[in-house]
């Protein structure tokens, strides 16, 4: 899988590229619109990550050019602007997805993978981590053969954390998926729910599965030692 990142801020481009390379992607970097256009014309890419505010050729302009020559190339737009109308405008211009700075790399990775149609495919009905078992069809949660009663929000939270075991989910990702943007930053709602979830899922058992990554978020994994990079 070969990706192109067109981003004029080299530090942003760097850490995104580093993270994606660690995930096994081949990544090219272009620092302005014209260079980006050159890369696109010369190579075959599976995905384009595009910043909107670019020198020489603006991101929106480049997006239009790309769509004319390559209508199927998935494009993930990065931008510092997140007004709803901007979003609509860029979706109309042909962006497939949209991420607002400052974004979490984990979130970017999820979007990239879903654009490349890699992750969501392996959707199983029963998720098993250690002795914790979650059934997506019946919404039943069991641990060590014991039924655990969860409220619908607690269930949604656990299901999300288990959707990709051992990956760290940031608070804003959790908020966005389990609640909505209204709660962003206003409250410690995620922490409260995780605490309640822990009380039911972890407290009665000697081995703890829900882990806190300070400053980042939460993840569910078997042991602390197995903590690899924050992304799976």
């Amino acid at each position: 899988m070969r990706l192109l990142i067109v981003e004029d801020d080299c530090k942003v481009a760097d850490f995104v590229a580093r993270g994606l390379r660690a995930e096994g992607f081949a990544v090219d970097l272009a620092g302005d619109g014209r260079e980006g256009r050159g890369y696109i014309d010369s190579y075959q890419y599976d995905l384009l990550i595009l910043d909107l505010m670019l020198p020489l050729i603006s991101g929106s302009e480049l997006l239009r050019l790309v769509r004319r020559s390559n209508p199927t190339l998935p494009v993930l737009v990065l931008t510092a602007r997140d007004a709803t109308e901007d979003k609509v405008k860029h979706f109309e211009a042909g962006a497939d997805d949209y991420l607002t700075k400052p974004f979490d790399f984990a979130e970017l990775l999820v979007r990239v993978k879903s654009l490349l149609r890699r992750t969501p495919v392996e959707r199983t009905d029963v998720i098993l981590v250690s002795n914790l078992e979650l059934n997506r069809l019946t919404h039943q949660v069991r641990r060590g053969g014991q039924n655990i009663e969860l409220t619908s929000k607690e269930y949604a939270l656990l299901e999300y954390l288990l959707s990709s075991p051992s990956r760290v989910f940031t608070r804003s990702m959790i908020l966005e998926h389990v609640w909505d943007q209204s709660f962003e930053g206003v409250t410690n709602i995620v922490d409260v729910y995780v605490r309640h979830l822990r009380r039911k899922v972890d407290d009665p058992f000697p081995v703890k599965l829900i882990h806190t990554v300070r400053g980042v978020g939460y993840c569910v994994r078997e042991t602390q030692q197995a903590a690899g990079p924050q992304v799976q």
Partner: protein
């Protein structure tokens, strides 16, 4: 009626001036007429008098009283002309006295006798007042061969006095009516002339930071009023420009902060997620990341505010059931409240529809609930209430918290304002939540108000105008687009 108003004072001055003018003119008319009538009567009396003179002068010889009487009766015919004629010869012999006049305006016999001094000087003109009437009498002394005579010719002043009385009555009746009409008319006229100024002030009254694009009506009067409206409009233009500059600055600054934040966050998260950092270092980076999250929250709050200031697009506005929205939000927040030992109550009521952006409205409820929960001590209660008040749809968030001191009440919606610096900062509050709530309310044409009692709790109340049956969207949302 406002006694200090410009209209009242102008009308008062105008009335006084007009009244004085009318009074002067009236007086002039009255006395001028009197002068004129008296002098013409005098002339007529003189003419008659000279006729009598001629009679007396005619015959050089001695003439008898009877002759004189005949002559005067036929040539002057005083009774017929309503004149009084009396001829006296020195030293006091009455030669002739006219009879009662045809109109019976006076009684010739009642005329007082002439004073004894008449031989020495001319008595000239005098006014004699008889019971019930006044007479003007012209006396002439002549010396003839037949002796010295005094001719008195008089006429009643009744008709002149009557005329003057009528004029006085007319003026006395007409002048006040005219002055009152003029005063009323003047007051209305001034009010009418000042109405554009009223309109200007009304328009200016409705101006706020949200609609600085509105302009005062320019009055095409070509005078000070037009200049005033024009210069006020220019001032508004400059005000709008400077407000726009500061808003753009806020928006730009927030945008510019996002890229470095992305890098800081990305790099630190990678370190925390990887094996490079362990133990203490990991904890510290985690702590920095928490601050980054706070900064991020702050930046997104500022951006939200700058977008609300700029007037967000309303195309996502829908009919929203406020009760249902409040219920679901309260449900989502219940655990947070319980976690802090606070009871969150929401008595359900019938659906109430407002028009707006559901996400934004939810944000308002979340912010208010979050605020209430944060400032209510363990064991307290927070109540979310919806209802109807005076035709408006009302949503209230009440708490049993520490309350807000009166001095701070007016400032709680200010950006970055904190009632209690230390406490809310520890809680992670950026001081933007209520400000954002207020901006969203303004954008929805709703009012937000706060009542509080220190030690007892606070009440934040949202007041939505009830949507009209066929309300067109722009009419219900007076929020002009400010993007330029």
């Amino acid at each position: 009626m406002n006694h200090r108003s410009l209209a009242f004072r102008l009308a008062l001055w105008y009335t006084l001036l007009l009244g004085a003018t009318f009074a002067l003119v009236g007086m002039g008319m009255f006395y001028g007429l009197e002068q004129y009538l008296h002098s013409s009567l005098r002339d007529s009396l003189r003419r008659r008098s000279s006729q009598v003179e001629q009679i007396l002068q005619q015959d050089q010889a001695v003439i008898s009283s009877a002759q004189i009487s005949d002559a005067i009766s036929t040539r002057v015919s005083p009774e017929f002309n309503n004149r009084f004629v009396r001829v006296t010869r020195a030293p006091g012999t009455l030669i002739y006295r006219s009879g009662p006049p045809a109109d019976r305006s006076f009684d010739p016999n009642a005329m007082p006798p002439i004073p004894g001094s008449w031989l020495d000087d001319t008595m000239g003109r005098r006014t004699v007042t008889l019971p019930n009437q006044r007479l003007m009498v012209n006396a002439t002394r002549i010396d003839t061969p037949s002796g010295r005579y005094l001719i008195e010719l008089g006429s009643s002043l009744q008709s002149i006095d009557g005329l003057q009385d009528r004029l006085l009555a007319l003026l006395g009746l007409l002048l006040p009516v005219l002055v009152i009409c003029a005063a009323g008319g003047g007051y209305l006229l001034v009010n009418w002339a000042l109405r554009p100024v009223d309109r200007m002030s009304q328009t200016a009254e409705h101006m706020s930071m949200q609609n600085l694009d509105a302009r005062l009506p320019v009055l095409p009067t070509g005078d000070a009023l037009q200049r005033l409206s024009l210069s006020l409009n220019h001032m508004l233009g400059r005000l709008r420009d400077s407000v726009q500059i500061s808003r753009r600055f806020l928006a730009d600054a927030s945008h510019e902060l996002r890229t470095p934040l992305t890098v800081i966050k990305g790099e630190l998260q990678e370190i925390v997620g990887g094996d490079a950092a362990q133990g203490e270092v990991r904890e510290r980076i985690g702590s920095v990341l928490e601050e980054v999250a706070r900064l991020e929250h702050l930046v997104s709050g500022l951006l939200a505010l700058s977008r609300l200031d700029a007037g967000e697009a309303q195309r996502e506005w829908l009919d929203v059931d406020l009760v249902e929205l409040a219920a679901s939000t309260a449900e989502q927040m219940r655990l947070i409240a319980e976690d802090r030992g606070i009871q969150l109550q929401f008595p359900h009521s019938a659906p109430m529809i407002v028009r707006g952006d559901q996400c934004r409205l939810k944000q308002v409820i979340v912010n208010l609930l979050d605020n209430a929960i944060r400032f209510t001590p363990r064991g307290g209660g927070v109540t979310l209430r919806t209802g109807d008040s005076g035709g408006d749809i009302v949503l209230e968030v009440l708490d049993t918290g520490m309350g807000i001191p009166p001095a701070a009440l007016t400032r709680v919606f200010d950006r970055f304002y904190r009632v209690d610096e230390a406490r809310s900062r520890d809680d992670g509050g950026a001081g933007l939540g209520l400000s954002i709530a207020q901006s969203i309310c303004l954008a929805h044409g709703a009012q937000i108000e706060v009542h509080s009692e220190v030690g007892h709790g606070s009440c934040f109340r949202l007041r939505f105008p009830r949507p009209l049956a066929n309300a067109a969207r722009p009419a219900r949302a007076p929020m002009p687009q400010m993007r330029s």
